[in-house]
């Protein structure tokens, strides 16, 4: 089951890259996120799974679809058609290298065990407080950047009309 989910995740990610239609790419990416969230739930990472479903599969997909809708109707970007030939070759070589490297690592890494105590809230708020402050800073910076970019765009738009 775990292997099937992983293969689904990689397959949908590849479809998102190779798909010609941007809307299909965004939807494939959302499906890959759902696969990743199921993997997280199976690994007992409930909070990360919830974030993955709600934020990545939900919010980022909405952002992508909005951006695609706002930029649609303009010239289509001509991608190189050789991708359909090159990518399978690249991926095959990658899988072979991956299998060889991982096969060599089997059994060589010692068991890693270190159990921790407390709840998720305690770890997030007490141990990782600096990360939270950084997150707040990044979100504010993002909001200000988006506001500045759109305001500048509107000014140029009005200037063009006059």
């Amino acid at each position: 089951m775990h292997l099937f989910l992983m293969i689904g995740l990689v397959a949908f990610s590849i479809m998102a890259v190779l798909s010609r239609d941007l809307l299909r790419s965004a939807i494939n990416l959302a499906v890959a996120s759902i696969f990743l969230a199921i993997i997280f739930f199976r690994m007992n990472a409930v909070y990360a799974g919830v974030f993955e479903v709600s934020v990545v599969a939900g919010l980022i997909t909405v952002l992508f679809i909005t951006a695609i809708a706002l930029t649609r109707g303009d010239q289509e970007v001509v991608e190189n058609k050789r991708h359909l030939l090159i990518f399978p070759l690249f991926f095959l070589i990658l899988v072979i290298i991956d299998i060889l490297v991982m096969k060599n690592l089997l059994g060589k890494i010692p068991a890693m065990v270190s159990s921790e105590t407390g709840t998720f809230g305690e770890v997030l708020w007490k141990q990782r407080t600096f990360d939270l402050i950084g997150q707040i800073g990044v979100i504010f910076a993002g909001v200000l950047a988006v506001l500045a970019l759109f305001r500048q765009g509107e000014k140029n738009h009005h200037g063009g009309k006059e």
Partner: protein, 102 residues
């Protein structure tokens, strides 16, 4: 448990390389962001898989959530920049960004 971690890391490598391939070869700006998103997925999976192998899920989850939040801020800003560029060049092609005219 350890062999499962190695299996997970194999898939993480596949995801990151797929994202890098997308970043290196695609010309569409939205596709480039999709590549960044795939790399972020790989990194989140690596964090959670390592936490699972080490029985250290709480710290791994809090780090994964940090990555997800930063990723959202990056994607939102990048999409706003792409829309702004699209208003000027009327295209999503990165090759058209080489001509900078004032």
């Amino acid at each position: 448990m350890n062999n499962m971690w190695i299996l997970n890391m194999g898939f993480v490598a596949l995801l990151i390389c797929t994202g890098l391939y997308c970043l290196l070869t695609m010309k569409n700006m939205v596709k480039l962001l999709i590549g960044v998103e795939i790399i972020a997925k790989g990194i989140t999976l690596a964090l959670i898989a390592s936490g699972y192998a080490r029985d250290n899920m709480l710290v791994a989850q809090s780090l994964a959530i940090t990555v997800i939040v930063v990723d959202v801020a990056v994607i939102a800003t990048a999409l706003a920049i792409i829309i702004s560029i699209n208003r000027h060049t009327k295209s999503l092609d990165v090759r058209k960004l080489t001509k900078l005219k004032g």
